[in-house]
Amino acid sequence: MLLNKRHPEEVLVLTKRIHEPGYDGSIDAYLKHGGYKQYLKAVEMTPEQVIDEVKVSNLRGRGGAGFPTGMKWGFVPRQSEKPKYIVVNADESEPGTCKDRVLMENDPHLLIEGCLIAARTIGAQLGYIYIRGEYRFLVEITERAIDEAYKAGWLGENIQGTGQTFHLRAHTGAGAYECGEESALLESLEGKRGVPRIRPPFPAVSGLYQSPTILNNVETFAAVPSILEMGGKAWAALGIEKAGGTKLTCLTGHLNNPGVFELPLGYPVEKMINTVGGGIPKGRKLKAFIPGGSSCPVLTGDEAWPLTMDYDSMAKAGSMLGSGGVVVMDETTDMVKAALRIMHFYAHESCGWCIPCREGTTWLKKILHRLDEGHATAKDIDLVGDLAKNMLGRTFCPLGDAAALPTISIVHKFRHEFEAKIAHTAAPPTAEQLVALN
């Protein structure tokens, strides 16, 4: 089992069981530790009451967009002649993010209970857990857990005599970052190319098979049982105003103690890096900081230190909390290479549907490649910033923004590094050089 040692600074809510000695995530273990009790509680409540608790908890989507979950659930029409669905986004493919897997590997029934409560709330009878293809081991773990739940009567017909029916299935992806975007995920789940849909209508109204659908991130669903257990108010109090609860945070990059830690929202960046993350190796300085996955604008060390890990604080600093994938880059980091690698990713993952993203990401990748190789001129630096700005806010889905934002911020904040690379060649690239690079 992949699980780093718990850190005293952690506030264990979603991960509280998995740090219990000998906890193996089986249904027996889960039940022994009070599992599925919150579902039974939900059964006693009206759907409105459940949604209210979630609203009060200030839970915001943990997939990256941070949309208030209670509000999203509220959008699902009460009456609908179409069936309703639950869909779990376990595509976890935002670079720097590796948290959902920790929950799914170590405590799969927590996710199942979260889905069960959501299903109860909106009256869904069928749900899917869309798991990225690379996570085959999680597909197997999840399927095993689902079987256990069926056998023990926590899934299927007339669950625990409540009269509720809910079926749950694990569905594997096959390698596509874009399928993490909710509407592309739904297309993929319907067996099509992972191309996003025109919205509105949003999934809550017209989602899977054009039916009302609750689609949330793994961590979001996993948070719901604890919200019912503690009560929305107490759960909210774990975090700060407007951002309730805890967040699984993936510390990655230049750190002595990287890992996935459950920290309360509003946790100070400085403590997160130096205390929880064990500081930067060799006492090096923090050059750049990504709060939540490579789609966020990059912050300089100076910008990052005073911040706290929550939506507003990051927004104020011109970035975003994102998915919880923290990337720490020390003074040795080559920011041109970083920019290139990030753009390489988006060019590889662009679904190709819309012009600016399809053409923009590849073009940018090529220019950044030349910049990195030293075959670029000063004009190319401006061109990078320019093209990124031309993508920003104009693409069909947010992937274009995700590619543009880090690029714009890096070129803007670390321009001198780009200039250093062109310094020795003022001449534009020769055809040979271009061919070599293509």
């Binding site: 819309c354 990401t361 073009w363």
Partner: protein, 697 residues
């Protein structure tokens, strides 16, 4: 997109107050008030894509620019389409688009009528900042008709949609991901489809090009002649691109006819019989057993003398008219036969029992369906016909109807047909008995429909037509009928009286022999065949009969002829034809063939040679006569002259039937065949689908 509620909202575009039906797309609302919002992927009537991002506009109180092609207008919306932010966005989209687009406009078929060229000219920035190597993939040929040059493709997905939503064929898709995404055909490296070419027509750039057209010309070097397709009975308007008496392309991009942009493979590419090497260009007269080329004067004299001689001694002359010649020609032919040759023996190949339908409807008005009814009727019953194969345009009308108005379609056929895809009910039958039961089985469902269009093929004829009409009448709802026929002017031949027992307008005349009797009459003295090929399937009993044939090619019948006149085809003619729904349209000559003459001219010269007084034989004069004397043809001239389709209202009264339903037989042409014309079209014969599977075959 059909606005659900028709209440209007007021919005403001570029400072102008504009009224628009709520729910209407902003791009359409703008267009209707004369404000163009550029777009590639948006295409009226087809699924929304929002992919090209060319239509981004500024809407106040909205953070980002919005795609005008997907956002519905809302009360009080304030929109800017020409502010710097928007203009700047368009420039950048075009720059992105051109980054991997080859700049081979000078050799590109589309050059001169390319939407990307136009947009770049109107909205683009002068220089390109793209210095990288462009992605290149070699051009592919997907079929004799369709070529694909991927680098030119801008991925607007129009072709995918027109093939799927429009044609119901779904032969095109998108493969790969990201910048290497490309359009792909359904059989890996080639297409198996209708070969209709709609994808090529709708492509805004030169990515999809057509085999017959590519590298032949520049658009501005052609003349564009709007006429009517000469193949099936649907009567699609087609605009021929012609250059020094060659036909180079056919399309209907100008949406000038009842068929909007639709054309099937025959309309778009089936015109190459025009320059077929075996095309007859000189009259032939049989001399000691052989057909030899002679001057027109000699051929005319030969026929005139024999006809006069036979007529004078009261010999029997049989006349077979055509499903392709014009109304004027058919009218003149029967006049020539009845008044000039004094013979009652005239007929044509009957492909649908129009007569039985008109008789059965006697007394009821407004019961004849038009092409528009296929598009608008809330419910349609198709009996014994493979529409997508034999009536391509009517089938397309139904698909569009289903897509936009959710029409209920009921299908009763012996085998599977494309209409099954969207049919509310599909029933199969094996013989006349099971056919009647199959139709009767739909009674309750059909009765519940507010209105109904009943369409039937040659499976329904004679008494069955009467029963079908009684069946329809029993609902007490508004029911219309269309009797399907095969060819470009089959309906006209029927209306103009090419029957042994009926004259123009279905007037009663002295009964003569039907075609089988003429062919079977061992004492027949002469047989005059205009634009048809009866001896392909039947033998001529009379070994002594003097046979005269007017045709484009040396058909089986022509080979038996004593004199053959080289005829012109519809694309070389003036005159009018009447489509399957009784809608009259005018032909416009686009090309000429040295040596060949329009059938009307041939008949006129014959009459002159024989000294017959049959009146003026120009098509204008004849059409006037038809309008005056043929019931139902008093159609408004201006409508016809301006290229419109005028509905005829034929007889509304009992008609004398000759009780020969067995003579009504469809020639069973498919989407890829078209009788003699099809046999001489290299293009149609080169298709892998050709001759195409018809459930009957």
């Amino acid at each position: 997109m059909v606005a659900s509620d028709v209440q209007t909202v007021t919005i403001n575009i570029n400072g102008r107050e504009i009224q628009a039906p709520s729910g209407q797309l902003l791009i359409d609302a703008a267009k209707q008030s004369g404000i163009e919002v550029p777009a590639f992927c948006y295409y009226e009537g087809m699924a929304l894509q929002a992919a090209c991002r060319m239509c981004l506009v500024k809407i106040e109180k909205m953070p980002k620019l919005q795609a005008a092609c997907t956002i519905p207008v809302a009360e009080g919306m304030i929109v800017h389409t020409e502010v710097p932010e928007v203009i700047e966005a368009r420039k950048s989209m075009l720059e992105f688009l051109l980054s991997n687009h080859p700049l081979d406009c000078p050799v590109c078929d589309k050059g001169g009528e390319c939407e990307l060229q136009d947009m770049t000219f109107r909205y683009g920035l002068g220089e390109s900042r793209f210095t990288e190597i462009k992605i290149h993939t070699p051009e592919k040929q997907w079929s004799p008709v369709v070529y694909f040059d991927s680098p030119r493709c801008i991925l607007c997905y129009r072709c995918v949609r027109v093939c799927g939503e429009g044609m119901g064929v779904h032969a095109l898709g998108v493969v790969n991901r990201g910048v290497v995404s490309e359009i792909a055909p359904n059989l890996n490296d080639h297409l198996n489809c209708d070969e209709c070419g709609a994808c090529i027509d709708i492509c805004p750039v030169g990515a999809l090009t057509s085999g017959p057209y590519r590298y032949k010309t520049r658009p501005w070097e052609m003349n564009h002649v709007g006429t009517v397709c000469t193949h099936c009975s649907n009567g699609c308007k087609t605009t021929l691109g012609v250059k020094n008496d060659e036909i180079i392309r056919g399309n209907n991009r100008d949406r000038s006819g009842l068929n909007d942009e639709f054309l099937c493979v025959k309309g778009r590419y089936g015109w190459d019989f025009h320059r077929h090497p075996e095309r007859l260009t000189s009259p032939l007269v049989r001399k000691d057993g052989k057909l030899v080329e002679v001057p027109w004067s000699e051929a005319l004299k030969t026929v005139a003398n024999r006809f006069s001689e036979i007529a004078a001694r009261g010999g029997t002359i049989g006349v077979a008219g055509s499903n392709h010649t014009t109304n004027e020609e058919n009218f003149f032919l029967q006049k020539f036969a009845r008044q000039g040759l004094k013979t009652p023996h005239i007929d044509h190949h009957r492909t649908g029992d129009v007569v039985a339908l008109l008789d059965a409807l006697s007394g009821s008005t407004g019961s004849l369906g038009t092409a528009e009814d296929f598009l608008n009727s809330k419910a349609i019953l198709v009996v014994g016909a493979d529409l997508s194969q034999q009536q391509p345009f009517l089938a397309n009308q139904i698909r569009t109807n289903v897509r936009h108005r959710q029409a209920h379609v009921y299908v009763v056929t012996p085998g599977p047909v494309r209409e099954d895809q969207t049919a509310k009910a599909s029933v199969r039958y094996t013989d006349a008995g099971t056919l009647d039961r199959a139709v009767a089985g739909l009674h309750d469902a059909l009765k519940a429909e507010p209105e109904l269009l009943i369409v039937f093929g040659d499976a329904i004829r004679g008494e069955q037509v009467k029963r079908l009409v009684e069946f329809g009448a029993s609902f007490g709802t508004a029911v219309k009928y269309v009797c399907l026929v095969d060819h470009a002017n089959s309906r006209g031949a029927s209306d103009m009286g090419l029957y042994p027992h009926l004259g123009p307008g279905y007037s009663s005349v002295d009964k003569g022999m039907a075609l089988p009797e003429m062919l079977g009459d061992a004492t027949l003295d002469a047989l005059w065949v205009v634009g048809s090929n009866p001896l392909k399937k039947a033998a001529l009993a009379s070994s002594t009969a003097f046979v005269v044939v007017q045709d484009l090619f040396l058909t089986e019948t022509a080979q038996r002829a004593d004199v053959v006149f080289p005829a012109a085809h519809a694309y070389e003619k003036s005159g009018t034809i009447t489509n399957v729904c009784g809608q009259v349209q005018r032909l416009k000559p686009g090309v000429r063939t040295m040596g060949a003459k329009p059938d009307l001219e041939i008949m006129g010269l014959l009459a002159k040679e024989m000294g017959l007084k049959l009146g003026i034989w120009t098509h204008d004069a004849l059409f006037e006569e038809i309008r005056r004397t043929v019931r139902g043809y008093n159609v408004p001239l201006p409508l016809i002259q301006t290229g419109g389709a005028a509905s005829t209202e034929p007889v509304n009264g009992r008609i004398a039937l000759d009780g020969r339903p067995e003579l009504v037989v469809s020639s069973g042409d498919t989407l890829y065949t078209s009788g003699t014309l099809g046999r001489y079209s290299k293009m149609l014969n080169s298709l892998i689908e050709s001759p195409g599977a018809l459930y009957k075959a």
